[in-house]
Symmetry: C2
């Protein structure tokens, strides 16, 4: 069993094009022995965003802090703490921090 605070996981600045103001921590991953799926913690600065993109794996997201939008095509859904988002494999999506504070969420993906 591993018990630790998420802030004890090393922060990474993802280098993917279109990532703006994003810090990621792999809080339960391959190094911890996770056999099936990976828990990641994201912090998005005010005005920050992920790229508008899609990929052949799903996202399971839980919003922890802040206010923002998740965008798909011409739709934008408001997100705030307690909101859950399921993005199917192949669905386009983008996260944007529209607030004045960091927006934090968990985003889990299958182990690949």
């Amino acid at each position: 069993m591993i018990v630790r605070h998420y802030e004890d996981a090393k922060p990474i600045i993802p280098q993917e094009p279109g990532m703006v103001g994003i810090k990621m921590r792999v809080v339960i991953g391959e190094e911890e022995g996770a056999p099936n799926f990976i828990m990641r913690h994201f912090s998005v600065e005010p005005g920050g965003q992920s790229p508008y993109h899609s990929h052949p794996w799903e996202h399971e997201v839980f919003v922890l802090k802040g206010e923002g939008k998740v965008i798909q095509g011409d739709k934008a859904f408001g997100i705030s703490p307690g909101v859950v988002i399921y993005i199917s494999p192949g669905e386009e999506h983008q996260f944007v921090n529209k607030g004045n504070e960091p927006m934090e969420f968990l985003c889990l993906i299958p182990r690949m």
Copy 2:
């Protein structure tokens, strides 16, 4: 894409022996189309607890609210918001709310 508040998922009172004061919501599960892993939200009343048990699948846990313990053998680890817990397949474990408020956490499992 599905976007909803976790409280919009129907609460279930698990009937497993040893579950005391626990309410569970499957926030992203088979009904939502999750192909690989299931996100569940738990709320444990003060004094409530899960059974001391093990099973052949892992848990990935993120603590959202409250104060408590996760127990394994003669060890008890304090848990509070922001704490992450990885429990390997087969490891014994128990969650106990030691505080005066509901203890809330996400607990994800592989789809079986």
